[in-house]
């Protein structure tokens, strides 16, 4: 699977987006902390974190005995650069064309 596919797939689930929002609020959390805020089994949360990790949206680090989860926003920025910029630029260009046309006929 391509990088973009993994990111889109990971984001296409409300629980995973919720986990990203929790990490955005406060980064570097343990599985236990994340699990306590969700109505879901530990195994379920682990599975979602794994999908996020595979997509590069979550990075883990060991700190002593604990495994901490960090939000990695870089793939979202890359999706933004690749997909969002392209289309908003197009819209701006369309408006610019419209302006030119209207002014020509004025």
């Amino acid at each position: 699977m391509a990088d973009d596919d993994r990111v889109f797939k990971a984001l296409a689930d409300p629980t995973r987006r919720h986990l990203l929002d929790r990490l955005f609020e406060r980064d570097g959390r343990t599985l236990t902390e994340l699990e306590s805020e969700l109505e879901m089994t530990r195994f379920g949360v682990m599975k979602h974190l794994r999908v996020l990790e595979d997509a590069g949206l979550v990075t883990t680090r060991r700190s002593g005995r604990e495994k901490l989860h960090f939000l990695n926003p870089v793939p979202i920025r890359l999706i933004h650069d690749r997909w969002i910029d392209k289309y908003t630029e197009h819209r701006v260009a369309t408006l610019a064309d419209l302006k030119t046309q209207l002014e020509e006929h004025a």
């Binding site: 990088d3 609020e25 570097g28 590069g56 960090f70 990695n72 926003p73 920025r77």
Partner: protein
């Protein structure tokens, strides 16, 4: 970007279609960093981390703690480009380079020990490191800088 307090440990990673050696060169040689690091010419060697802004002013001058080409680099960080940030205590930047399957390299940047540098933590979060990493990826994969920084332009 946000009003919340920036974290004292920040982790960023990116997958790059390049070899670990190419990534290492891109983060240690000034001719590369000038193309993606807000125009800064950064030299990372065993002897230290030295960063010069596009106008030649000193943006960073810190010790190197670990230097293991092409896998691991750890150096100090103080944002000398801003007087308010320069007053804060030194933090630490770790670069980890891990080869993956299929000619891909994973680059992870950990900026930590920011407990006594809250303004620096805020300034490098959000777009800060993210622009550096996406610019570095673009440069290595396409040979083109993401953003052109003209001579003498401070970011």
């Amino acid at each position: 970007m946000s009003t919340m307090t920036a974290e004292a440990t920040q982790v960023y990673s990116v997958f790059i279609r390049a070899t670990p050696e190419q990534v290492w060169d891109a983060i240690t040689k000034p001719e590369f960093t000038a193309k993606y690091f807000y125009g800064a010419r950064i030299e990372n060697s065993e002897n230290g981390h030295r960063s010069l802004g596009p106008d030649g002013s000193v943006w960073g001058d810190e010790p190197t703690f670990e230097y293991e080409p092409p896998r691991r680099l750890v150096h100090g960080w103080r944002s000398l480009y801003d007087p308010e940030l320069a007053e804060e205590e030194r933090s630490r930047v770790t670069w980890e380079i891990e080869p993956q399957e299929g000619g891909i390299t994973k680059l992870t940047v950990v900026h930590d020990q920011l407990e006594r540098a809250p303004k620096t933590a805020e300034s490098v979060s959000g777009d800060g490191w993210m622009m550096v990493l996406s610019g570095l990826k673009t440069l290595l994969e396409t040979g083109e800088p993401l953003v052109e920084v003209s001579e003498g332009e401070a970011s």
